[in-house]
Amino acid sequence: MSSTLAPGRLVDQFERGLDAPICLTWELTYACNLACVHCLSSSGRRDPDELSTAEAMAVIDELQRMQVFYVNIGGGEPTIRPDFWDLLDYSVEHSVGVKFSTNGHKITPARAERLAATDYLDVQISLDGATAEVNDAVRGPGTYATALRAMENLAEAGMRDFKMSVVCTRHNIGQLDEFKAIADRYGAQLRLTRLRPSGRGADTWDELHPLPAQQRQLYDWLVANGDQVLTGDSFFHLSAYGEALPGLNLCGAGRVVCLIDPVGDVYACPFAIHDRFKAGNVRSPGGFPHVWRESELFLELREPQSGGACTSCSAYDSCRGGCMAAKFFTGLPLDAPDPECVKGHGETALAALAADAHKPRSSVDHSKPVSVPVTLGARPGRPDKACEEDPLHGLVVSP
């Protein structure tokens, strides 16, 4: 009789949090050469208070001591930082694995060779359309070409299984097979992730977020292709359709993951860059370990969560009430259903909000100023050069 062994369910253990994150996202800079319309971190301009190289290395030392297994380095565009390549090396030399997320504009053949030769290093290329028409409408002119060129260079250099990461939108859910084909062509692993109404994503959410029928389409495709495709567990709310998708199937924010931003602020997750979800700053006494282990916000998140409005729903055990950030930035209370609840409870909750209901906006906004309206439609014309840094270059002004 195994009465002294009580393994329990993983999801119950992890909702109570861990002594250290399993992995975390670290945005190295808010600077970016692009101006994607759905940018979760509202990136564009460098923050003058960015962590210095020495401060960044001190964070890596802390992550090593905590035995954080790997860090997802992003931004903005992390390769814009001159010390980026040094920080990569420093991290892998100190037993913290790295995956970095990039739009690809600095992944030259030479860089690709170097990356392919580095252990404990993974690369993730962002692509949001299987065609330039769909992709560039969201990410900007020439970005499709840039991404494919980067993948070509990585493949040529012998890098296998790097990630090609897609944010699923209304306009690209019909291209899932094509995305798989592109990833296969370059020996990359396809990653499909959920769009959240975070950062600039809040402004384009109504136009970009998948329609209910498309969520079903996506879920069916993931079930059929699941073992070949990563999702970052970002679709756990779709588990309410039936068979759970691979992954922990729970909100990891403040429990198994978090975000360190370019100025050292620690947030529960990269989709929750808002004071409400700020736990502390790595520059404070005790650094990151102290924030992770002792901050009021994270301790609160690790308390048993009630299901709120979802408690009596038969799907709650699978979907866990969905995404905290999705609720927050659409103006829903955190104990409401997910705005994209597959049973439609989110739509009901949204409809019940007052017409003038307040939708939280983050004060953290490093977007480059845009003084002309941006269209989401296709931009005809010749692609611009890949390294174009002016977000207004080639912009089509809507009439």
Binding site: S2, L5, P7, R9, L10, V11, I22, C23, L24, T25, L40, F69, Y70, N72, G74, S101, S165, R191, T193, L230, T231, G232, D233, S234, F236, S239, E243, A244, L245, P246, G247, L248, N249, L250, C251, G252, A253, V256, V257, C258, L259, A268, C269, P270, F271, T311, S312, S314, D317, S318, C323
Partner: protein, 43 residues
């Protein structure tokens, strides 16, 4: 009336692949594997 569904932990299903159909396996499984990309909140 609220239901209390018996939902099988999905990780248990994955870890069980290849094992015999042991009815005690769910309680006794001491190791589970998850993809390093299996936690939400990492883009």
């Amino acid at each position: 009336m609220s239901e209390v569904p018996q939902v099988t932990d999905p990780q248990t299903d994955e870890a069980k692949a290849g094992d015999g159909a042991d009815e005690d396996a769910i309680e006794e499984l001491l190791v589970e594997e998850v993809s390093i990309d299996g936690m939400c909140g990492v883009y």
